[in-house]
Symmetry: C2
Subunit: 427 residues, 2 copies
Amino acid sequence: MNIPKTSYPRIVIIGGGFAGVALAKKLSKQEVQVVLLDKHNYHTFQPLLYQVSTGGLEPDSIAYPIRKILKDFPNFFFRLANVQEIDTKKNKVKTNIGNLKFDYLVIASGSKTNYFGNAEIEKHSMAMKTIPQSLNLRSLILENFEDALLTSDLHERNALMNFVIVGGGPTGVELAGALAEIKKGILPKDYPDLDTRSAQIHVVQSGDCILKGMSSKASQKAEDFLEKLGVNIWKNVRVTNYDGKTVTTNTDLTFETATLIWAAGVKGATIKGLDSEDFVTKGNRILVNEFSQVKGFNHIFAAGDVAFMETKDFPRGLPMMAQPAIQQGQQLGDNLLNAIEKKPMKPFTYKDKGLMATIGRNKAVVDLEKWKFQGVFAWYVWMFVHLFFLIGFRNRMVVFVNWVYNYVRFDREARLIIRPFKKRNTL
Amino acid sequence: MNIPKTSYPRIVIIGGGFAGVALAKKLSKQEVQVVLLDKHNYHTFQPLLYQVSTGGLEPDSIAYPIRKILKDFPNFFFRLANVQEIDTKKNKVKTNIGNLKFDYLVIASGSKTNYFGNAEIEKHSMAMKTIPQSLNLRSLILENFEDALLTSDLHERNALMNFVIVGGGPTGVELAGALAEIKKGILPKDYPDLDTRSAQIHVVQSGDCILKGMSSKASQKAEDFLEKLGVNIWKNVRVTNYDGKTVTTNTDLTFETATLIWAAGVKGATIKGLDSEDFVTKGNRILVNEFSQVKGFNHIFAAGDVAFMETKDFPRGLPMMAQPAIQQGQQLGDNLLNAIEKKPMKPFTYKDKGLMATIGRNKAVVDLEKWKFQGVFAWYVWMFVHLFFLIGFRNRMVVFVNWVYNYVRFDREARLIIRPFKKRNTL
């Protein structure tokens, strides 16, 4: 790979997500060379992907060009690349565009959808981890309603209008709420010739509550909100298979649906060379110490979703979310500079800023350390926090305009099938 | 196709572009049944496609859901369909989702890129008539710059950074100006490790001026603006072939480029059944009389780009642009209602509102009937008019926010490769 050699130590970062970008920003204008590799040329603000899927936001407003984030940092290099292997002996990463030597390596490759080994579910279900996936889901939902108009078979029509969301975490809950609002406010107007009342939204949760990382108050209130919106919540039910038509579970319950959204779990996106049992632990995550170092190496680190770091408060690893990733990335930036200057590194401590989820219009739940609240105010807090963490002034403005418009007009205008998902369409 | 039969006459409209939508709006809430067929579920504001291609706007802000345009019209039906054939004997259209009888038919299928029979150019070049095409071009431009970083072959690198635009009409001129601004303001920051000064933008024009439909003052000024921006304009040169690497012309001139944008012409998008010599004339457009009627029929009409209507001022047919389409659609709405009530129809008269094109920041040319002007004020007029004609308040707000941001910051943040165009990328 064509990166100039300098006298500065080279830090290679794999992944431009929350951890990778926070780290790169910390290293900006320091006496290091930073090479960031990502398979997209943009950073994705994943917490708002569900709004892209449901026509509330345009994809471009939750993405930010990685090159722009660090445009004033002369020793920063970005390459659009798929990392294929890490060679820890030769201190080299292998990618689809060539090999690259590193002095320090940070794996911040994030996570991917965990199908728990079920290939049939993987084949037939929709995931929502990237912008292209979110747009595919948007297209599929809209295409299914267009198709529902074409069939006189009642079973088929209902299957096209039903949604089964597997997983009652924040992604599943937020998506279910948005779909329920679409069903109520938009479908009857857009499809007056369909009986959209029979459209059903199901959330299937293997455990005995939704939003299980949050307080029981938040969990209960979120359930109330969803039920008020007409969402069916199935607890203590585990989805066992989906053949593209019928969802089977570990109970007698089955669902007929053309759309299964798999939000039941994620796993670390490990990379060949550091993906063996020696390095990988629960959730397919790379075990790291309190300095984010991978076992056996002083110069190889992991941060964010892909890293498994135990803390006092989180003996089962930090949650796979934006906040731990950002904080780890920032701390690692300081530690890398310390390491280069032969100063001692500082152990990572996680400042838990709380958890939140939105269910719909005026409906959110927020758990802060000392204050837990739900409803309208929580909804404003949720919006404010998400706008604040979104990268880029333009993105914030565009998202804000959309939110105000959607709120005032009870609308979601980005219900556009820009790139059809179903193959039979010939555009 | 599953459309209810009513006592109202059924008007089938093929195409949800400017003509089709203007017509459908005119018929809203009248005693007719309207069925609009389009292969997209949205209306595209084509004049701003070049800004989507060049990262200035998100696609969702220049598209508008067709179902929403007519949501308050109870006898309006939309179907996502490809029309395959018109059966004028049985008064029926055949589509990929079934057949549909009509009492009145309006063909408003628009235009498509005209390659003048050159299959190789068609295969290797990029067009910009639809949103997916614009996004493909956006991806390709950005991917080419990423690839330029990977090669040490100077010729290949230059070819990846060169752009050849064939056609000096508004599309070609506006795109060339936008690319020149990107070259100047964005590339040096995004790609500090590339010598982006060697990126070249060529406009190849077969005639002896650019913007040939406009005044000679506008044409000359546009040329000055483009040259100031560093664009190379080649007049009286006709592109003869492009194999994906080398552009050949009818002169000694050749260009090495990985990106040829074909904006040299459009032709009517006719449909089987009405595509024979009996109906089709210059520019592959369907000949219509002053009532938009197709020759030989009282109940079959054509409007917009696909219709060839001679007027006193335009003996070679009205221009293939938004304004004639909108005006024809509106007039046809009145005429259809007259026809149904057995009243006489009124002949179409075109109110020429003028022509305009933007070249870049503070640079536009405007030809009104009595006033022709260029420069900063023309640029404001151009923006105001485009915002005004854009459908949807949300779209106007989002476009406005983007324009203000881009102006103040000299930026275009939607430089995102959301769906790669080149196949080798594995996302």
